[in-house]
C-alpha cells in the first residue's frame, strides 16, 4: 500500500485518524508525478500490479488548503487519485479518498463501494466538519451511480456537487464557479481511450491465445504422424505464428475500429473483423491449404474475434446490461457452434487433403 504521503513535499507526519478499521489517514500530497507514478500508470494498463494499485483512504491536503478550500472526492485506485492530483496543479484543495478496494470511481460506483454509505463514513472518520467551514463536496460525475446526493446532504449536511466526467476538466470546472459545460458532462470513449484499455484485453487472453494456437498447430500435423515434427516445422510453426499474430491484431484492432465495424452488436462487429483478418493468413498460407482448411480458418477466426469483442463490452462506456444480456443469449451459443464447427473442419482437413 502507498503511504498517503506519496510525494516529496511531505512535511506533516501522517496522522492516523483512529477509525474503526484504522485505515483512514490524514496526509499530504502534491500534484507532480514521480517516475514511479509514471511507471505504475503504464504497468496497470498491462495488468502489472493492477489489483494492488491503491492509496490509503483518508483526507489529503494538496498544496496548503485552508478551511475554505474545496473538497474533492475520489477513489483509492492510485491511477484515479494520481490523475486528480495532477489535474489540480497549482491549486489548494482537500482530497477525500474513499475506500473502493483499489477500484476506479466508475466501476466502484457501479458496485456501490464508491457510494453514499462509504462517503458518509469517510466524512465522519476524517472529521471533515471540523476541517472546512463550507458544506460542499465535489464528486466526479461518474461517481453518481453509487451516490445519492440528497441522502448525503440529509445525513451529513454536505451538499454534493457533481464535477466533470474527466479529471482533466476539473480545474476549469472549479474556475467556472462549479459550472460544467455540456462537453464536460459527456463521456467520449475516443480512439486513444479505446487503445488505452485494449492492451489489457490482450494481456488477459494471451495465454488462451497461445494454447489455442498450439492446439491448432498440432492438429494441423496429426495426419503426418509418421513425420510429425517435420510437419510441425513446415506447417505447425506457420499456423501457430499466424494464429497468435492474428489474435493479437484482433484484440487491438477490434477496440480501435469499434465505431466503424458494422451493426451495434459487438459479436457481429467481431465476426466481421475475424473474417477480414482471416485474409492475411490465407494470403500467406492459403495456396497450400485445401478448401476445407480455408473454411475452418475463417470460421475459427470469426468465432474467436466475435467472442473477443463480446467480452470487450465490459471495457466500454456505453453498453447496457439489458443489451448485453440479449446479445449473450443469442451470440454465445452461435460462437460456440461456429467455433466447434471450425475446430472439426480444421481437424478433418488433415485427413481429407483433397477437400
Amino acid at each position: 500500500m502507498n503511504s498517503p504521503c506519496s510525494t516529496q513535499t511531505c512535511s506533516l507526519p501522517d496522522t492516523d485518524l483512529g477509525s474503526a478499521a484504522g485505515a483512514a489517514k490524514l496526509g499530504r500530497t502534491a500534484s507532480a508525478w514521480t517516475l514511479g507514478d509514471h511507471l505504475g500508470a503504464i504497468g496497470v494498463r498491462l495488468n502489472i500490479g493492477r489489483m494492488g494499485y491503491r492509496v490509503t483512504p483518508g483526507l489529503y491536503a494538496l498544496g496548503a488548503p485552508g478551511s475554505d478550500a474545496p473538497v474533492l472526492v475520489t477513489a483509492n485506485y492510485k491511477l484515479s487519485f494520481d490523475h486528480l492530483r495532477r489535474a489540480l496543479t497549482g491549486l489548494n484543495a482537500w482530497l477525500l479518498v474513499l475506500d473502493t478496494k483499489g477500484i476506479n470511481v466508475w466501476c466502484a460506483a457501479g458496485k456501490g463501494t464508491f457510494g453514499t454509505d462509504e462517503l458518509v463514513r469517510k466524512i465522519n472518520e476524517c472529521r471533515l466538519h471540523e476541517r472546512v467551514t463550507h458544506r460542499r463536496l465535489i464528486l466526479p460525475q461518474l461517481g453518481a451511480p453509487g451516490v445519492a446526493a440528497h441522502e448525503v446532504r440529509r445525513q451529513t449536511g454536505f451538499a454534493v456537487v457533481y464535477g466533470s466526467v474527466y479529471a482533466t476538466d476539473i480545474a476549469a470546472f472549479l474556475q467556472a464557479d462549479l459550472q460544467a459545460t455540456p462537453a464536460m458532462r459527456r463521456i467520449r470513449f475516443s480512439w486513444h481511450e479505446r487503445l488505452a484499455v485494449a492492451p489489457l484485453e490482450l494481456v488477459l487472453y494471451f495465454k488462451q491465445l497461445l494454447l489455442l494456437g498450439l492446439a491448432l498447430a498440432l492438429l494441423a500435423c496429426v495426419p503426418t504422424a509418421g513425420h510429425f515434427w517435420s510437419g510441425f516445422e513446415h506447417r505447425g510453426i506457420l499456423v501457430f505464428l499466424l494464429f497468435v499474430l492474428t489474435g493479437a491484431l484482433a484484440s487491438l484492432l477490434g477496440p480501435l475500429l469499434l465505431p466503424w465495424l458494422p451493426t451495434r452488436a459487438f459479436s457481429i462487429k467481431g465476426a466481421c473483423l475475424g473474417v477480414a483478418l482471416a485474409v492475411p493468413g490465407l494470403w500467406l498460407a492459403g495456396p497450400a491449404w485445401s478448401v476445407l482448411r480455408t473454411t475452418a480458418w475463417i470460421l475459427l477466426l470469426a468465432a474467436g474475434a466475435s467472442h473477443l469483442l463480446l467480452k470487450f463490452t465490459g471495457s466500454t462506456t456505453f453498453t447496457s446490461p439489458s443489451g448485453v444480456r440479449r446479445e449473450v443469449r443469442v451470440a454465445l451459443p452461435a460462437q460456440i457452434a461456429i467455433g466447434l464447427a471450425g475446430l472439426v473442419a480444421w481437424t478433418v482437413a488433415g485427413f481429407l487433403p483433397g477437400w
Binding site: I103, G110, A148, I187, K311, T313, G314, V324, R326
Partner: protein
C-alpha cells in the same frame, strides 16, 4: 458516441412526479435527459447504458431503471454460477451493485 442494443432498455421516467431539479441531466454522461418547462424528458433513450445514476439521484423517485454493468463476462458468469461477477474476486469492478 456509439450506441448499443436498446430494445430491452429498462429506463422509465414519470414526468408527473418530476420537480425539475435537473440532477438527472447533470449526472447522465450520455445526455439521455433534457429539461424543458421545468420538467425532465427522455431525449435520447437509445444512449442509456443503465448505470442508474439518474434514478439514484432523483429525490422524488421519478426515474426507475434496472441498473447494472454492461459486461459480457459478468453476464456469462451469471448464467454459469447465478452470480454476476466478471473476474471472480471480491475486488472485481464488474460485480453487481451491493444493494
Amino acid at each position: 458516441m456509439m450506441k448499443y442494443l436498446s430494445k430491452d432498455l429498462s429506463l422509465r421516467l414519470d414526468e408527473g412526479l418530476c420537480i425539475g431539479c435537473k440532477l438527472c441531466a447533470v449526472v447522465c454522461p450520455h445526455g439521455v435527459f433534457t429539461i424543458e418547462n421545468q420538467k425532465a424528458h427522455i431525449a435520447d433513450r437509445d444512449a442509456c447504458m443503465e448505470c442508474g445514476a439518474c434514478a439514484l439521484n432523483c429525490p422524488v423517485n421519478a426515474i426507475a431503471v434496472n441498473s447494472g454493468v454492461g459486461c459480457a463476462e459478468a453476464i456469462i458468469n451469471g448464467l454459469l454460477t447465478g452470480k454476476e461477477t466478471c473476474c471472480g474476486g471480491d475486488d472485481c469492478c464488474c460485480a453487481p451493485k451491493a444493494s
